[in-house]
């Protein structure tokens, strides 16, 4: 068993999350790849890999090079077509849509921390 040396933590600060791992793997594997191999390369579950790839296809970062077209035993192949840099694109919900008027309103990021209520409870000494 590899014993982590004292500096190990410094050299390996934090394991990247699944989305970062998938994006990194995609950028390295130039050319066509299917979801199963991508998931294994990224060390990510196949379902989350498929979800993220679908988002990338829908937003134009990836294209489908060969659709499975419902044929049994074949897998769709994808490729990265907009390699913009090391940080993974992430889905951001930035709009509020009003179905009454068809208008959309910007939805800025929340400015208060999500955990404010829990924090207050903890500060008052009550169970969170």
């Amino acid at each position: 068993m590899l014993q982590p040396a004292p500096h190990y933590a410094r050299l390996a600060p934090k394991r990247p999350d699944a989305i970062s791992r998938i994006w990194t793997a995609l950028r390295i594997i130039v050319g066509d790849i299917d979801i199963a191999m991508l998931a294994m390369a990224a060390g990510a579950p196949e379902t989350s890999t498929a979800d993220y790839v679908r988002l990338l296809v829908r937003s134009g970062f990836m294209s489908v090079s060969r659709s499975a077209n419902g044929r049994i035993g074949t897998r769709a192949l994808y490729r990265l077509t907009r390699n913009t840099g090391p940080l993974p694109p992430r889905r951001a919900i930035t709009l509020m849509a009003d179905p009454n008027t068809g208008l959309t309103y910007p939805l800025p990021h929340r400015t208060t921390p999500r955990s404010r209520k829990r924090l207050a409870l903890t500060l008052r000494g009550e169970a969170a």
């Binding site: 068993m1 590899l2 014993q3 982590p4 040396a5 004292p6 500096h7 190990y8 410094r10 050299l11 390996a12 600060p13 934090k14 394991r15 990247p16 970062s20 791992r21 998938i22 990194t24 793997a25 950028r27 390295i28 594997i29 199963a36 191999m37 294994m40 390369a41 990224a42 060390g43 044929r71 049994i72 035993g73 074949t74 897998r75 840099g85 090391p86 940080l87």
Partner: protein, 252 residues
């Protein structure tokens, strides 16, 4: 198979996932460099013939360790190498001259250490580039994994002070029988492909992952469409051709 036995075992945080032999070897090589003692050199090599899946292995190692990946090219100079590195590190102002960029890259790596993976290292086997990689390694004390063709270790021998700093050199392997079965489990979800048939593919395809996958998918469609069965073994496969990349033979 001469799998190197001096690599450390996979740490527990990585041991749960399924990975092919070369992904495993490549990751353990970079972890060996990472886990070397304070002040010890951290250069590592992963090398082998093309077609063994070195780049997918590199993708795996870089993705799970959060490494910076540089694909070397034939036309790379010191400056373009530093530019690529600065871009991958996400430096907003990399600097204009090579020495500015070198300083900024080293500063960033000291603040926020990340391993570096350099693919197609064969192209960088030149005095200037080997020198700059050594400088970055010495100044930032980060693991650097270099990936290249079969001849890479011999090629780097000519820079003695560089070669001295290589603490792990791992040859890439052909896909093993176990790898073939992992691929079967991933790619044949609709049909049970017997071990004997998968092993036949692995041997006939000489351990080239991509070709094994093609045959597994073929076997799955043959089972479902021609045999109308949900399992297939070597007997059922019969004397069908394995797509092993050899040129098609003329029908007599």
């Amino acid at each position: 198979m001469d799998v190197p036995h001096d690599l450390p075992e996979m740490p527990r945080e990585f041991s749960a996932s399924t990975r092919l032999t070369n992904m495993d070897l490549c990751l353990r090589t970079i972890l060996a460099a990472q886990g070397a003692g304070e002040g010890a050199p951290r250069l590592a090599l992963f090398y082998g013939w093309s077609g063994l899946g070195k780049t997918v292995a590199a993708a795996h190692a870089a993705a799970v360790t959060g490494a910076v990946y540089i694909l070397a090219t034939r036309v790379m100079t010191q400056k373009s190498f530093l530019e690529a590195l600065a871009r991958e590190l996400g430096l907003a102002r990399p600097g204009r001259t090579s020495s500015d960029m070198l300083n900024n890259v080293i500063q960033r790596l000291n603040q926020n250490p990340q391993p570096i993976v350099i693919d197609e290292m064969d192209y960088l086997a030149k005095d200037q580039l080997v020198g700059i990689i050594r400088d970055i390694h010495d100044a930032a004390n980060i693991p650097i994994l270099m990936i290249g063709e079969e001849g890479l270790p011999a090629l780097l021998k000519q820079w003695e002070r560089f070669d001295n700093r290589i603490i792990a050199a791992t040859p890439a392997q052909r896909a093993s029988i176990a790898d073939g079965r992992i691929l079967r489990d991933i790619y044949a979800r609709r049909v049970k492909i017997a071990d004997d048939l998968v092993d036949h593919f692995t041997v006939r395809c000489k351990g080239i992952t991509r070709r094994i996958v093609v045959n597994i998918q073929d076997a799955q469609s043959i089972a479902l469409e021609e045999l109308e069965a949900t399992n297939i073994d070597l007997l059922a496969w019969g004397d069908r051709q394995v797509r092993d990349g050899s040129l098609p033979r003329r029908q007599a």
